[in-house]
Amino acid sequence: MNVPRTPARRRPSLRRLLYRAHLGVALAAVSLAGLAVVAVGVLTLRVYAEHNLRLIGRSMAYTVEAAVVFNDATAAAEALGLIASREEVARATLYDRNGGVLADWQRSGSGFEHDATQWLLGPESVLPIVRDGATLGEIHLRGSGGRLLSFLLTGLGGMLACLLLIALGAFYLSHRVVERIIGPLDRLADVAQAVRRDREFSHRVPAAHIAELDELGGNFNALLDELESWQTRLVSENASLAHRANHDSLTHLPNRSFFEGRLSRALRDVAGREEKAALLFIDTDHFKTINDRFGHAAGDAVLVAIATRISGQLRESDLVARLGGDEFAVLLAPLSDDAIAVRIADDIIASMAVPISLPAGGSVTASLTIGIALYPQHGPTPEALLHSADSAMYEAKRQARGERRLAVCGDNEQDKETSDVVETL
């Protein structure tokens, strides 16, 4: 029945699986969105920065134009520095028409910022200084990406904060979802275990919030209903089969095998408690004649009537069985006095005085011969006791039918005493 299973630690729980999936999806989504936003932001800012740099360059070109015309390096450097120092410019170089450097301005700053700026902003911007259609010189501008850098760092920081928030949110949502999924599954498992362990079919899975799980629960409940009805039918069929195996179908009395089982058990009990018991072996007189004269249906009716009448004379704890044919046996246990056995036998014989109505009309009077064996005097084992009772019954039949006779055992002194006691009754 038990299928070998891989160890539990190798199998991830549904809870962990869901947590992981939720967290993964949330983090991936935020990272993608954040990276996309940062990338678009950086590109946009870069475009604006380039545009801004060109505007600065144009403004510089206008300012330094006269200085270039008059080849005035000092004035050019002043004008260049005046604008560059107030704007997002890392380096501004002014070349005259021959390619010589007229002025050069450079912002003092950290190397890291410079490198990051180079990477973010790309190559320098070149603006010609044109006057009256002639190019007087060029301004080479390199932007300072301080603002871009701070945007990038702020963006990344914001993304990290978002990631943290989303992770917490995902954890909370996962918790809720997991409760909704795991809860019903746990209850389902509980019911399944109760059914498997205790054969307790009355439990049912409660309704669940999620449609699929509710359907699963419903199907499981329906399955339980079927199992329960199967179980009930099986039990009743088993009982009826057991009854049929142990009982005589005509008189509904226990059969020989059932009687022998009960007999040996009763004798064990009696012996343990040092009590007494008695066995009556009953045979119907002239049953063959009744059968021959009135037919088998009449014979059956007579047997049923005998069974009923014998049962009527017994105490609650006694047992009557049909051993086969027209033979019956009665176990009287426990027995406080041997005389009670003899008296019950007499009562049984007396009960047969009333005629038995036959199904085909008319009636017949049947009589019984009874052999009585007492335990433990007439036999220490069930077989011996049965044999003693059987012998007593045949002995009685030989002398006179419709009588009862107590078994005798020649070697047993006590037996003789018992006989005497009984004879006096």
Binding site: E65, A66, A67, V69, F70, N71, D72, A75, R131, A134
Partner: protein
Amino acid sequence: MIVLITLLLTLLLTPARAAEPVSIARQGEAVGQVVLGILSYVRWPQEPAELQLCVVGPTEFADGLLSGLVQNSGRHVAVQRRAIDDPQLGESCDAVYLGALGDFDRRQVGMALSGHAVLSISERDPDCSVGSMFCLDIRPARVAFAVNLDAVARSGVRVHPNVLKLARQGSRP
């Protein structure tokens, strides 16, 4: 002996002789550039199709100018020498380039120009206080200039502020 002395003289004099014309030529060229620059920043009430630049008085660096100039815009600048006492200076010139003049001559030229929209540039006028609007400061390294704002205001020509900003005010080196 003679050969030796000649060689010595050559050694001693050649650098000076050779250097001077080259330097003067280069400075003349620079002066030409500055004059062209100033001209390009000046607007007359009626823009002439061809600018008349008159060179007046003894000049040191105007030789390059006399061969004629062409502005970046393509306008030709006709350069001609005029006498200091030429009464037609005001009518026929759009700009005058004054050489080394005494105070008297300077005043005479100023009188001739008054009432006309004429740009005046002095080659040698360190104070730049009388007459000329622009006063060149010609040095071996570069050519700077000063502006006499009073003269500019009186002249009747418009000068672009960028040039005024660029100029050395008064006696500033």
